[in-house]
């Protein structure tokens, strides 16, 4: 029971991170029908920018008392801004020209961008994992039989707060409305006066910002950052987005938590070396038997 609850908490923590990344995939897929393969690496970039800020602040001896909280906020904000700009920059430079190209062209481009980012991050920070500054104190709390770290609570709370903010942004704001309109019908939305290119750029900004939050909480949660982190995490998050129904925001969150739980429990039952196999088998099974995902609606094929 004890172990079960611990794995449950782990799964929820992992799931929160995957859900944040999955939202980035789902937003972009919803609007462009593009698997933004580089998204996982934007997440890695977020981890490293937060790491660099925290290391610099720690070196300047600023991470005490109120400075600690300000420092954490600063690292989070810098990661969010950096990832948002990076993601929007990628869209501007690499994807925008390919709006009318055959569908495989932007996907291949996205893989290329992903490889370039991975390599650049490796050149910047080295090939070995870099320890993430241990800024959030992590005493264990006992709630009944459940033992959770403060860190876990912070990670999950931050992720859920971000998701709620995103939900209201997409459902209530004018920009969110424009995003949904462009996702439904690009030509029609430009006819009613929506600036399609700008809306797509903003979608990439938001997806990048979410990757920035994920990068920060991922760094805190895993305690390190590595240049190839984004590849595995990105694939899991994409699996999560597909499992929930790609293009569907609630689906991405649900899928993220399910994949997180699947990973932690498969690690517990059959060992960590099989977790990749478990996750990708789920991906294949979902795509084969329910391609529209758990919450997605199946659309007729466009001709």
């Amino acid at each position: 029971m004890h172990e079960f609850l611990a794995q449950l908490a782990n799964g929820v923590e992992l799931g929160a991170i995957y859900a944040l990344i999955a939202l980035g995939y789902t937003l972009v897929y919803g609007i462009l029908e593009l698997i933004n393969f580089a998204h996982g690496d934007v997440y890695t970039f977020g981890s490293f920018t937060a790491l660099v800020v925290l290391v610099a602040l720690r070196a300047a001896n600023l991470l005490h008392g109120a400075g600690l909280i300000l420092g954490i906020v600063a690292a989070l904000v810098v990661a969010i801004l950096a990832c948002a700009l990076l993601n929007a920059g990628i869209e501007r430079l690499a994807y925008r020209r390919l709006r009318k190209a055959p569908r495989l062209a932007p996907l291949i481009t996205a893989i290329g961008v992903s490889f370039m980012l991975e390599n650049l991050i490796e050149l910047w920070q080295g090939a070995a994992p870099v320890p993430f500054p241990n800024v959030i104190p992590n005493p264990e709390l006992e709630i009944g039989a459940l033992q959770v770290g403060v860190q876990q609570i912070v990670v999950v709370a931050l992720a859920i707060a971000t998701m709620i903010a995103l939900h209201f942004f997409v459902k209530r704001s004018r920009l969110g409305k424009a995003m949904r309109a462009v996702a439904q019908d690009r030509d029609a939305s430009s006819l009613v006066g929506i600036d399609v290119d700008r809306t797509i750029a903003i979608t990439f900004l938001i997806a990048g910002a979410l990757a920035g939050v994920a990068g920060f909480v991922g760094g805190v949660s895993f305690g390190s950052a590595w240049f190839l982190n984004g590849f595995g995490a990105g694939l899991r998050a994409f699996t999560a987005a597909v499992l929930g129904g790609i293009g569907n925001i609630a689906g991405a969150m649900l899928g993220g938590f399910l994949i997180g739980l699947l990973e932690s429990f498969s690690t517990w039952f059959i060992g960590g070396q099989w977790s990749n196999v478990a996750v990708f088998s789920v991906l294949i099974l979902v795509l084969v038997f329910r391609p529209s995902g758990l919450l997605g609606e199946s659309l007729p094929e466009k001709v």
Binding site: I35, I111, G112, E118, F238, V277, V288, P291
Partner: protein
């Protein structure tokens, strides 16, 4: 020296592509084959043979993937899985691992058959998926296969893989330590692969692939058995990779799971994209160019820079950057690749006119 061979081969390929006279094409191809067969015997050493043999294996892989991606238009991001299956076939059946020492030549065929079987097994449930979903599923498959090889330590040696694979023999003569025989086998393999690719492209099946690539729905309604055609593409493409895997494993005398990761799949896709997807000659050029850059040019620039500036660079670090830049650059500026498929364009044009007349 390696550049001389690569240059001649690429120049000949371009000439074949540009000439319209069928006899001239065949003459150039035969001359090139003779040159590649004889040249390295007089001007070459083990290092040259080794790079040429690797290049030849990659050309075979690229030709196999070209059937799937170039002909049938199915983006397969897990092609290295079939390469791994071929390599492990040799690794497990011709090594001290199980004390089995099956002959190399038989395993070439067995690996091709096994890879084709797995191609069909993967294909059967997933080929209904479209475009990028299929790409992601194949990617997932490509991640699972090496992971399984890594985890089944009892059978596959786990993360360390299997070493001390058998040295093949040819009518009782051992290949010894030389890598030369692999080069010649790979050359024959390329010749076969080229011949098969060409014939397939002109065949009924090849035309169905092209129809599916251009418009799957239309192809279906024209009476093409889409699933069967796609399965055939997967199986045939995978079988090339299986043979490549055996050659690769035998030459290295080693298999280990980290040799067959996603990077390998993307490397081969990059070769196709660079050369021109769907165009057989273009694919050969693309794979030659990338192999030479990887195994000769980068190390050389590396040592040159190190020697002149007393640095200890490691340019092998920027492989990914180069593949990535190639994928992005080609897609943005020349999506048809360096050597676009002229014949195909002419063919499509011709077909359009014929339709208009009818």
């Amino acid at each position: 020296m390696i550049y001389a061979y690569a240059f001649v081969a690429i120049a000949a390929c371009v000439a074949i592509e540009r000439f319209h006279n069928r006899k001239a094409k065949i003459a150039i191809a035969l001359a090139l084959a003779a040159f590649l067969a004889v040249g390295p015997r007089f001007y070459g050493n083990e290092a040259v043979f080794s790079i040429l043999a690797d290049a030849a294996v990659y050309v075979m892989l690229a030709l196999g993937l070209n059937i799937v991606v170039g002909f049938a238009g199915l983006l397969d991001l897990g092609y290295a899985a079939f390469f791994a299956i071929g390599a492990y076939t040799y690794g497990m059946l011709a090594s001290p691992q199980f004390g089995l020492h099956l002959p190399f030549w038989a395993l070439l065929f067995l690996a091709a058959a096994l890879a084709a079987l797995f191609g069909a097994l993967l294909g059967a449930p997933t080929l209904r998926l479209h475009g990028d979903y299929l790409a992601i599923v194949t990617l997932g498959f490509g991640e699972i296969v090496p992971q399984i090889f890594q985890n089944l330590t009892k059978y596959t040696g786990g993360p360390n893989g299997i070493a001390a694979l058998d040295v093949p023999t040819f009518f009782g003569h051992s290949f010894g330590a030389s890598v030369m025989p692999y080069y010649y086998i790979a050359l024959v393999g390329i010749a076969l692969a080229l011949w098969i690719s060409r014939n397939l492209r002109e065949s009924r099946l090849g035309r169905s692939w092209m129809a599916i690539r251009e418009d799957e729905l239309a192809a279906k309604h024209a009476g093409i058995d889409v699933l069967r055609a796609k399965l055939a593409a997967f199986a045939i493409g995978a079988s090339f990779s299986g043979i490549g895997g055996v050659l690769f494993a035998a030459k290295l005398a080693l298999v280990s799971p980290d040799l067959f990761g996603f990077q390998v799949s993307v490397l081969i896709v990059s070769m196709l994209v660079l050369g021109g997807m769907g165009n057989i000659v273009g694919v050969v050029v693309g794979s030659l160019l990338l192999t030479i850059v990887n195994s000769a040019l980068l190390p050389q620039i590396n040592s040159l820079v190190d020697a002149s500036f007393h640095t200890t660079l490691d340019l092998s670090n920027i492989h990914f950057l180069i593949y990535g830049a190639i994928l992005v650059g080609i897609m943005l500026f020349r999506p048809e690749g360096l050597l676009p498929n002229r014949e195909r364009r002419a063919e499509l044009h011709h077909a359009g006119e014929a339709e208009a007349e009818a």
